[in-house]
Symmetry: C2
Subunit: 201 residues, 2 copies
DNA sequence: GTCTATACTCTGATAGAC
DNA sequence: GTCTATCAGAGTATAGAC
């Protein structure tokens, strides 16, 4: 990928990544084709490969940018804040990520589901370290009796599972709910109740 | 697909479906190839296509069988039973499905994630109807004050999300936990606590 | 029923004109 | 920088021998 210098290069790179996100998140890596991405981007296939050296490289660029976005809400948990408010805020921010960036959530889910062939290092490195640090914070709050004692890592897993479910299984959620529902608004109310009860000391 | 009559036909069909499950669940529909399935099955590629008319047909056979297995635990919820015990039992059976049939869970997740192109009818039909029926049962229990009042459908979503997470995101769960953990045993303890608190009237 | 050989299509990537 | 044309390989499916 040539270092985007000019405005036009910058713009085209972004157009390609946007189109690639659309296609990869809906079809998975193998299911997506350069033809589809080119069509969505409104560019020719060889032109895609002028900006990125390969299909693999486009995918990798998306994943690299994604992990940071994905972990940001967790980083924001403040050890000095009010425990329940911090955890509720984290849950809410993760749910907002699902609502506002469902394609990113599905891109991530596709990758993990298939064994994380291109993200394993990041998961075993950055993600694991961050989770360990924040689990320590949660543990401290439990020791102080400020929230109920539960397994801190599984508490984080539960927030991931419950919030990402609404993006990753969107089709199923909407099909089962039927018309006239706002899945994310209902989810927020349900999850608030759930975590308020779970965390009460 | 020829109606399996002889014992050898029966056996080969099963061998193919077992191999196909292995490959489809790990790679998705497009990512899987007949070559891979043939190799895992220990058969030649044309031989696969003697038993099933196409790659599509193999996949369809797996999905059709899957949905029933997947919904069985929900069907077993007994309106006459003890509400908390019934819901806890459902959660536990779903978690056991994730633990004992993780490939089936990932096959299902792959399908939904990509928009359920081959399962939409079943979801909008059987699954939606079953959920509506069981949501009615839950509602009745809430009206009687036997469990806390929460959105019954989102309660079911939460059980799906939390239990399937351990199969679908297995790689991430194990990477983050590190060695020396039994994810499913820990999950069961965590989820028991979670639902006991959530459901307490 | 099972195999080898092969037809045909799709797809990632490159060549080369402009 | 962008396009048309095209190559090479992979992948689904079929033909036909045994």
């Amino acid at each position: 990928m040539p270092r985007p210098k000019t405005r036009i290069q910058q713009k085209n790179s972004e157009t390609i990544l946007e189109a690639a996100l659309e296609v990869f998140s809906a079809q998975g890596f193998r299911g997506a084709t350069l033809d589809q991405i080119a069509e969505v981007a409104g560019l020719s296939k060889p032109n895609l490969l002028y900006y990125f050296p390969s299909k693999e490289a486009i995918h990798q660029a998306l994943l690299t940018a994604l992990l940071d976005t994905w972990l940001d809400p967790l980083r924001e948990i403040n050890p000095m804040g009010d425990p329940v408010a911090e955890i509720m805020g984290y849950m809410r921010r993760k749910l907002e990520l699902s609502r506002d960036f469902p394609r990113e959530s599905r891109l991530f889910a596709n990758e993990i589901l298939q064994g994380a062939p291109r993200m394993r290092a990041a998961i075993e490195g950055d993600m694991k370290a961050l989770v360990a640090a924040k689990a320590g914070v949660l543990h401290g709050w439990m020791d102080q009796g400020r929230i109920a004692r539960v397994d801190p890592v599984h508490l984080l897993f539960s927030i991931w599972a419950l919030t990402q479910h609404y993006a990753d299984f969107d089709v199923q959620v909407r099909a089962v709910l039927g018309d006239g529902h706002d899945p994310y608004a209902e989810a927020e109310a349900f999850l608030k109740t759930l975590y308020r009860k779970l965390l009460a000391p």
